[in-house]
Symmetry: C2
Subunit: 335 residues, 2 copies
């Protein structure tokens, strides 16, 4: 493999998270599906915000969280995503760059504002998300910098890119450049309802080998294969002949290839606060291990460590240096 300038490049929706504690009855009154992500328009965003309590605002976005997690592990990382040149967009840019990530996508200077995700955190720590995509709707193939994709060992994409109109073309273009350069392409399925919206297309990406590595949680996997039975879904997943990783909340994770399946337990936590970013940070840890040559089980352990850190506080950006956390747990990555 050539010596790449970047180890992982992420492409995703660039979003600012607006988080507040909420009681379950607010979800019911607002017809929100607990644990899921729903797309909303600007008007709904304003009205739902009005119903939220005192908020905590952090940069978010699924792939962006993963890339920041990778940088925190010391992995050379870059991100492509679209924000507007407004206050939230400047905060997003500050946060991702200050985390050590290369981020050069030009601001949208007109059109809708920077995307925001309203995150309601119920007392059980579960997060329920309502996303106004805003400026993400302006992400398109022109934002895919060919030299950047070529220079990155792994391209990491989120299924949520199927939601805004032009982003899937950016996805396809980036994946083609990556494969032509001999690089790997990873995809997270993002959300069970997102899988439901784009099931055939996601299966097609897998079966045409447009992607090599797939991250899914158990709900997404069951949605993908339209089965209530987890084992049935895992068997079908194994038969895709990809590198598959399934996250299972407190039950840990499974690495699924055609040849072997490994179950890795979850990392212990003191207190579950907010599950936002658990899957994103698991992917960060796993990819950190993978790109630095860890075996698959250690990669999954690194994923578990990062997920455990993120669910013990609000927001999906790490509060400690994940490379330190890895070292403290005997999983220091080689340089």
């Amino acid at each position: 493999m050539p010596d790449h300038k970047f180890e992982v490049l992420g492409l995703g929706n660039a979003i600012v998270d607006v988080i507040a504690p909420a009681e379950d009855d607010l979800l019911e009154r607002e017809n929100l599906n607990k644990g899921a992500m729903v797309l909303i328009d600007e008007e709904r965003s304003a009205s739902l915000y009005g119903l939220m309590g005192s908020t905590t605002i952090t940069s978010g976005g699924s792939a962006a969280n993963t890339i920041v997690g990778l940088a925190s592990f010391g992995i050379r990382s870059a991100f492509i995503g679209k924000v507007k040149n407004d206050e939230a967009g400047h905060a997003f840019s500050h946060d991702i760059r200050s985390s050590g990530v290369h981020f050069g996508t030009p601001f949208a200077t007109e059109g809708p504002g920077t995307a925001r995700c309203l995150v309601l955190v119920t007392p059980d720590g579960e997060r329920t998300m309502s996303t106004y995509l805003g400026a993400c709707q302006n992400l398109g193939p022109d934002d895919v910098d060919e030299s950047l994709v070529k220079a990155s060992s792994i391209l990491y994409l989120e299924g949520y890119l199927w939601d805004p109109p032009a982003a899937k073309q950016a996805f396809i273009k980036a994946a083609a450049i990556a494969h032509a350069a001999g690089n790997q392409v990873a995809l997270t399925l993002s959300d069970a309802f997102c899988v439901d919206r784009y099931r055939d297309e996601f299966l097609d990406l897998m079966r045409t080998k447009t992607v090599d590595i797939i991250f899914a949680n158990q709900h997404e996997l069951r949605s993908l294969y339209q089965t209530a039975d987890f084992d049935t879904a895992v068997t079908a997943f194994r038969d895709e002949n990809l590198l598959g990783i399934v996250t299972r909340s407190e039950h840990g994770s499974m690495v699924v290839t055609r040849e072997e399946t490994h179950a890795v337990p979850a990392s212990p936590i003191e207190r579950l606060v907010d599950t936002t970013g658990a899957g994103d940070l698991f992917a960060a840890g796993f990819l950190a291990g993978l790109v630095r040559g860890s075996d698959l089980k250690d990669a999954a352990r690194l994923g578990g460590l990062a997920a455990a850190e993120i669910i013990q506080h609000y927001g999906a950006r790490p509060h400690v240096r994940l490379s330190d956390l890895a070292a403290e747990n005997g999983l220091a990555l080689p340089l």
Copy 2:
């Protein structure tokens, strides 16, 4: 005492907190005094922000945090403070109102933007603050709504109001209205360096009985009496013949009156994350107890509970309903 529409009215600097984890060496390089608050200008705010990692943004402001804490205990509360009609100002207004606080101070429509406090949280959980006062500099006596002050049993003021030019006049005006109406006036000394800036004036407020209740931490108290010896400071404090409350971090708190001194232990915590707001939320719990007729020791216990909640996460606004927390700990407040 007449039946008041509001139980506590706060007057303070209306600030948005921008929080990030930081290593101790950043404090050293930037000549920041760990645990203290320093005033900065807009240019310094921008340059320091540029040195911070990925941020978490929450509404803050010392007295504002206390008032939101009071509302979370179910206390009828109101706040006076100045923000601009910018994005941060709208967020501040949303957050305080959504917490159940009456907040009607008009936006500044010109002049500097909403105040921001850059909060660096070191691995030991200590917070170090750099505050750009922005629109707080436009808070003045005209913002003090006489009927609101009269209608509130306790007026709560922060020492930080001595920093912006016109706010101390608002403070003096509000205290005079409160006392003329037979209401009580409370003051937090805010910060040891703030005490150092305004020591004579703060002592004068105490000795002219412009204030009846004083909150101080041990550093502020030692600064007030210019002594390294805590017991000497407590003795001097007792002789002021006010209701004094001293917070001592993990050593709990002391209630100090001329007649009696009670030490109350700190509430246990699982994990110290960020001390921001510990004193503010202690004051919330204490005032909640006081205004609802708890004895002084139970009031201090309520303060300890609220402080323990706030230091286990980023930001100085509670993530749980403090009235629930009080009830779970056998300290439910009467209606």
